[in-house]
Amino acid sequence: MIRQQLCAFIKLSFLDLYRRKDLFVLLVLSCVLLTPLALLRPFGQMGGNRYMNEIAMLMIWVFSFIIALGASSRLFPPEFESRTIYPLLSKPVSRGVVLLGKYLGALSTSISALAIFYFLYAMLNGFRGGEWFSPLLLQAFVLHCGFTAIVVALGLLGSLLVTTSANITLTSTIVVVMFLLGRRLPHYIAADETPVRWIIAAAHAIGPHVEFFDLRQRLVHSWEMISWPVCALALIYAASYSVTCLWLAWLALRRKQL
């Protein structure tokens, strides 16, 4: 029965995402931006191709982040605002299943959108004379799914603690800061001798290490793949971080005054 309930939530999330126009707007925007990039051959230089691929990958990361955060931050607030949470929780379904179902729903829809973006990237690369498919592309996609799992879990947790706008601002700030500075922070901490370094170290330890999941440079420059055990470790980290967020979200939902 729990499996059936989880599937019902996943189906609900898909209907929500695909009947709203957000995804289609981003897809059309991607096509509008990527198609000229696929057709352009600036000076016939390989470096030019790489530059185009880098832009395409950046777009995929930004758009997939918007979709994941948009889907997860909207999971609970509308339920409370329109009071649909009452008939929902009056059914024989526990709050834990509602939470997990909504998480899996948002995650699966975000991953489906991500798959479409990676397909578009493969097409772009193929049209430009590169490989249509490579194991590195698969590895990048798998790790990107790990990143999405963390973003969705953070968005879900935030949706139960703060308002939607505050949630989007906070989650975006945390993810973007960790994304940009995650790799550099250990160097800053080592170089800094003031007590502030302990605060930065704590923030670095608690923050989501989204930088683990970024294979853009390897993909763009066709570098070697990372080893699969390292990839598995990153995915275990994503799973652990998501489970911790979900556990905190469950505590928040259990105590929420309805």
Partner: protein, 251 residues
């Protein structure tokens, strides 16, 4: 074993008593009206019955079990006062979603959905999503989702709100049909005329406590009183006494 049993229930929010020492017993197969003014504690009581909030004190049971028990929830059909549901879904999709949450198989969901949409008069809504539905139509969707899994106890929060006169008659007949099938109906309402027509028993709530609990026939037995007058009488505040005097004077 009573479908609903409350014993000295208390619930406060920020030191304000929403429900204060409330005791009730609803017998199987009866239609029970839960009446009271705004802020009397009706919705808080319903939320406690559904296991959405916990009482601070007292004993609450549904069919002899805890309200949070999942097996108890299988026997309850709840219709909220005004829920806007998921605007991106169609009526049949929403009912199917709730059916899946209730653990019903696909074939039963399909059959029940078709039956229920006809029963509540929404069979022609087809491809329309719920965002295009009127308030009355959403109330009908609410009724359909409450009836879906054929529960033994119906908890209805202000079920007549937003319904047109024809729909009210239809819904009243539906409640009476449920009673004939041995179902228990517990509903809160401001619509005293509706309560008078269909209820076996009523409880009148004032400031979180029950000020009257008994059969409708008993309180309206003299043929002169109606539930509205009794309602005003038991609430006994100055404003209602003035209204009562005006009613007695035939104004």
């Amino acid at each position: 074993m009573h479908p609903i049993e409350l014993e000295n229930i208390r619930k406060s929010f920020n030191n304000v008593h929403a429900v204060n020492n409330l005791s009730l017993k609803v017998t199987g197969g009866e239609i029970f009206g839960f009446l009271g003014t705004n802020g009397a504690g009706k919705t808080t009581t319903i939320k406690m019955l559904l296991g959405l909030i916990k009482p601070d004190d007292g004993k609450l049971s549904l069919f002899g079990k805890d309200a949070h028990d999942i097996s108890t929830k299988k026997r309850i059909g709840f219709m909220p006062e005004t829920a806007y549901y998921y605007p991106f879904l169609k009526a049949h999709e929403l009912i199917a979603f709730y059916g899946e949450l209730c653990g019903m198989d696909k074939k039963t969901i399909k059959t029940r959905t078709e039956e229920l949409l006809v029963e509540v008069g929404l069979e022609n809504t087809g491809k329309k999503t719920l965002k295009t539905f009127s308030k009355g139509m959403l109330q009908r969707v609410g009724i359909a989702q409450a009836l879906l899994h054929d529960p033994d106890l119906f908890i209805l929060d202000e079920p007549f709100t937003g319904l047109d006169p024809l729909a009210k008659i239809h819904f009243r007949d539906l409640i009476l049909k449920l009673k004939k099938r041995g179902k228990t109906v517990f509903f809160s309402s401001h619509e005293l005329s509706e309560a008078e027509l269909i209820c076996d028993r009523v409880a009148i709530l004032k400031e979180g406590s029950s000020v009257y609990d008994g059969p409708v026939t008993e309180i309206a037995g003299d043929g002169k009183s109606n539930l509205e007058r009794i309602f005003l009488h038991v609430l006994k505040d100055k404003k209602s006494e003035d209204i009562n005097k005006q009613m007695e004077a035939g104004k």
